[in-house]
């Protein structure tokens, strides 16, 4: 119950939610008390005041036997609401069990449920209402039944989706494995996770039911005189609209307000519920405004003829009270034909770095750099008049199932690059496409042009993505976790392909990955990122001898590879990666570092070159020696 109260409280925080809730409560109160207060006034005929227009005594006028219309509008609230609730009860009463059937009884009954739902959906509510009105006589019973049956399919569909997702979830599976009784699983695990969305839908459904019922009553098929709901009142006043429009005003306003209130409340509750069960860690309210970019000057490796030079790259996102910077002033360069990996865990900023190079950071993120040069062109201010990014930078993304357009054939997605940027005609572009597909070792390249992405496996789609990048003449291939979603044997093929393409075309490669072993296999140089900063820049061949940054060392010691000593415990890093909204001053790794001193916690270390001029590390106390995991969790080494 605490959860439900919290839900309402969250919904109340928005102005629409609060307004809707208040209105709904008001309507309910009105439904209860209005007949008691104004009941007489609403039903007492008054022959002296027939068919009057608005006046002080009767603000909305009177009807054909002199009854006060304002009173009648207020009193009609009860019948309108009660019938609407009944409609939703009928609809949910039929729909929810129907939707739950496939989950409880198995997949065969899904077909039955689908058939019944289809049938109910096939006939509009109005036709059902007509049918039932003929059989049962026009009146509220027929209306409630008809509208209830008509609303059942929506409930059935919702319940079926919810039940299927809940039933397929691991916590329900775990409950079964624990041997909990079916009853317990149903009531403790399944129903609570289904009930909330359904209840929210009930609120919205009451709104729609009310509107539909008013419509039926308006037609004369719903509430019959002498009973009256808003729809019935409206139809009675319609033929006087030229003379006394205020008569229609009451029911119109009442219908609209009630509809808006219930729908608004339902939507506010739904929005509140979705934020509560999501696992995204949102920045805590009230955190200090974002700490300004540290004015650190990093060293830069000297390379002649670099393909890419980046200095002080920062990506910022505005938040409610300030901004966060997932990438904070990084500097690196990529030489001609060099292969560089950026290694980091989630939240390190590695993906955003790749996206910012290709100018693909989504709004509202902003990219700033002190210097950004690609193939000799200055892109620091973000403009790219010669379109070097489009022609010389190839992007390969992680999720192959969503990165290719499912509605277009492979051929189109390949040849359009050459047509737009290379000015080639369709046939020439297609020829080049076949050529590139052959280059990425895809069997049957001509056949592939006509296929759609879903007809290919994940590995094949990734080859297509690489081929797309090769349609221009790329000088730099940026691959963001290109193999994380693939099997390890396919991963090997793709990585080998990228390597060979780099060798053949002379293109440089920037590989983003969380797997440091993949980085060492594929690349010459590794940049380790932590909390938006580069903490180490080291030759891949020297990784084995021992990196010097405590984070890199801990990372190497924490993940087993094929040669890890099986008798020795793995190192682990206490704590967890920091939230970009909640960064400590000083070195971001200090809270988890075994060698942190006060200086680390106060001053953030810059990325500095060491004596060899090819190794950079951002640490006040870099550690020496090769990485060996000892019996306790700490890494032993000489204090640097």
């Amino acid at each position: 119950m605490a959860q439900q109260r919290g839900l309402v409280r969250t919904a109340l925080r928005t102005p629409t939610g609060a307004l809707a809730l208040v209105t709904v409560v008001l309507l309910i109160v009105l439904a209860i008390v209005a007949p008691m207060i104004w009941g007489d006034k609403a039903t007492t005929p008054n022959v002296d005041h027939l068919l009057e227009g608005g006046s002080a005594e009767h603000p909305l006028g009177t009807d054909n036997i002199g009854r006060d219309l304002l009173a009648r509008t207020l009193v009609a609230t009860r019948l309108s609401l009660v019938l609407s609730v009944l409609i939703v009860l009928v609809g949910a009463g039929i729909g929810v069990p129907l939707g739950a059937l496939p989950t409880v009884l198995g997949r065969r009954s899904a077909r039955l449920t689908a058939a019944i739902t289809d049938f109910a959906l096939a006939y509009p509510a109005l036709l059902l209402a007509i049918f039932l009105s003929v059989i049962l006589g026009a009146g509220p019973t027929a209306a409630v039944l008809a509208l209830g049956i008509a609303s059942a399919p929506a409930f059935a569909r919702l319940t079926q989706t919810l039940a299927a997702s809940v039933a397929g979830s691991d916590y329900v599976a775990a409950a079964h494995v624990l041997g909990l009784s079916r009853r317990r699983v149903l009531f403790r695990h399944v129903l609570p996770n289904i009930a909330e969305p359904i209840i929210l839908n009930v609120t919205i459904a009451i709104g729609y039911a009310l509107l539909a019922l008013s419509g039926l009553s308006f037609l004369g098929l719903g509430v019959q005189p002498p009973s009256y709901d808003w729809g019935q009142l409206l139809t009675a006043s319609l033929n006087r609209i030229y003379v006394a429009p205020e008569a229609a005003l009451g029911p119109c306003v009442a219908i609209v307000i009630a509809g808006l209130a219930f729908n608004g409340l339902g939507e506010a509750l739904a929005r509140a519920a979705s934020t509560r069960t999501s696992y995204v860690r949102s920045p805590r309210r009230g955190t200090a405004a974002f700490t300004p970019i540290l004015p650190i000057s990093d060293d830069q490796r000297v390379i002649d003829d670099p393909v890419l030079v980046v200095e002080g790259l920062t990506v910022t996102f505005p938040t409610g009270d300030g901004s966060i910077a997932p990438v904070r002033g990084i500097s690196f360069s990529i030489g001609n034909g060099e292969r560089i990996a950026i290694v980091g865990e989630s939240g390190s900023g590695k993906s955003l770095t790749a996206l910012s190079l290709a100018q693909l950071v989504p709004h509202p993120g902003t990219v700033r750099a002190d210097r950004l040069e690609f193939v000799g062109r200055d892109l620091t201010d973000g403009s790219d008049p010669d379109n070097v990014v489009g022609t010389s930078m190839a992007m390969v993304f992680q999720d192959t199932s969503t990165s290719l357009n499912p509605a277009l054939r492979i051929g189109t997605q390949l040849s359009e690059v050459a047509e737009v940027h290379g000015g080639l005609r369709r046939t020439e572009a297609r020829r080049r496409a076949v050529d590139r597909l052959r280059e990425v070792r895809l069997s049957g390249p001509e056949r592939r042009l006509r296929q759609f992405p879903h007809e290919l496996s994940g590995g094949m789609r990734q080859r297509v993505m690489i081929a797309v990048g090769l349609m221009g003449e790329p000088r730099l291939i940026v691959a963001d976790e290109p193999t994380s979603a693939l099997d390890v044997t396919v991963q090997q093929q793709i990585l080998r392909l990228l390597k060979d393409i780099g060798d053949d075309t002379g293109a440089s490669c920037l590989l983003i990955t969380h797997d440091i072993a993949v980085a060492t296999e594929m690349c010459d140089r590794i940049l380790v990122m932590y909390a938006g900063r580069i903490v180490e820049d080291i030759d891949a061949s020297r990784l084995w001898e021992g990196p010097t940054h405590p984070y890199t060392r801990a990372l190497l010691a924490a993940v087993p590879d094929m040669d890890t000593d099986r008798d020795v415990e793995l190192a682990s890093i206490p704590g967890r990666p920091p939230d970009p909204a909640d960064l400590p001053p000083g070195c971001a790794f200090a809270p988890r570092c075994a060698f942190a001193t006060d200086k680390c916690r106060e001053d953030a270390p810059p990325l500095l070159l060491d004596k060899t001029d090819s190794h950079r590390v951002a640490c006040w106390h870099p550690q020496q020696g090769s990485v060996v995991a000892h019996e306790d969790d700490r890494l032993e080494s000489e204090v640097g």
């Binding site: 077909r111 689908a114 289809d118 049938f119 096939a122 006939y123 509009p124 109005l126 036709l127 007509i130 049918f131 009105s133 003929v134 059989i135 026009a138 709104g207 509107l211 008013s214 419509g215 308006f218 037609l219 004369g220 098929l221 409206l234 319609l238 609209i241 030229y242 429009p245 229609a248 119109c252 219908i255 609209v256 509809g259 808006l260 729908n263 290709a358 693909l360 989504p362 709004h363 509202p364 379109n387 990014v389 489009g390 992007m395 993304f397 999720d399 969503t402 990165s403 290719l404 357009n405 499912p406 509605a407 277009l408 189109t412 359009e416 737009v420 940027h421 759609f452 879903h454 797309v468």
Partner: protein, 329 residues
Amino acid sequence: MVSLAAPARVGFADKHPTAAFVLRRTGRMIILLLLLLVLSFAMIHLVPGDPVRAELGPRAPVSAIEARRAELGLDQPIPKQFVDYVRGLLTGDLGTSTTSHLPVSEVIAERLPNSAKLAGIAFVVIMLFSLSIGMIAAIVTRNGRHSGTELGFTTTTGFFATVPEFVLGVALVYVFGVELKWFPVAYEPGVAAYVLPVAALSIGSIAALSRIVRVETLDVLGADYMRTARSKRLPARLMYLRHALPNMLTSTLTLGGLLLSGLIGGTVLVENVFAWPGLGTAVVDSVVAQDYALAQAIMVLLGATVLIINLVVDVIIGLIDPRSTIREL
């Protein structure tokens, strides 16, 4: 030894998936249509009381009642009555309307064009406006841009989507018919008479549908493949027309199908507000007046229309979307 238990024979469904799909859906529709006919047939027989007696009055002699019964074929066994009924439907003999004493088919023929024109014009108006407003709203507010516009859009559409057509119709009648007198509020020949009823039918649906279109468009615009298209530096025209639009086709068609079916209910309501001489007013009047032959015929007509529309939309979607035939149940 065999690891894959392949289906014993490759059947028709595998060789011609599209044809099988169309046949399956058509079969489903025919079943539902039959059900509709059974229900509408049963409707008469489930009416409490005796329709013949109701028609002829309480003082009619038994002989007259029996004669009328034989005339209507009500003395035959039920299955034969059903067959006669269906045969009658197929040949256009729908019985006689008890209120107007005209053949039902004539009444329908007279009224159908008015309703069809109203619904048809409203459909086109709704689709044009909701698609364009929804897509433009999505492009303007993508990635959280212009949150003020988004708020205005959501509030306005939220409001108008909740106002029912008949309430809107009444309001329009008052504002434009009574006060401003710009447009006629009842049927008369000429285009002007259509303005208010079409507006009443359309505004709510435009509001509701443009919200949905906006959400769908935002989903498509935010998809990974759009990011890939952006990384290719394609011109905006290609990005929206070639990459985004085809992915919206399925949802747009589904929307269109739902709209057409939903317009039927709306048309009935709006016709009753504007006293429009169409099927909407006819069906309500016939139920109230217990003119069951007319009510039954209109019900079958409307129901069959909905079924056929759903079938056509399903088939078109199935043909266009390369993945849907594979996903078919």
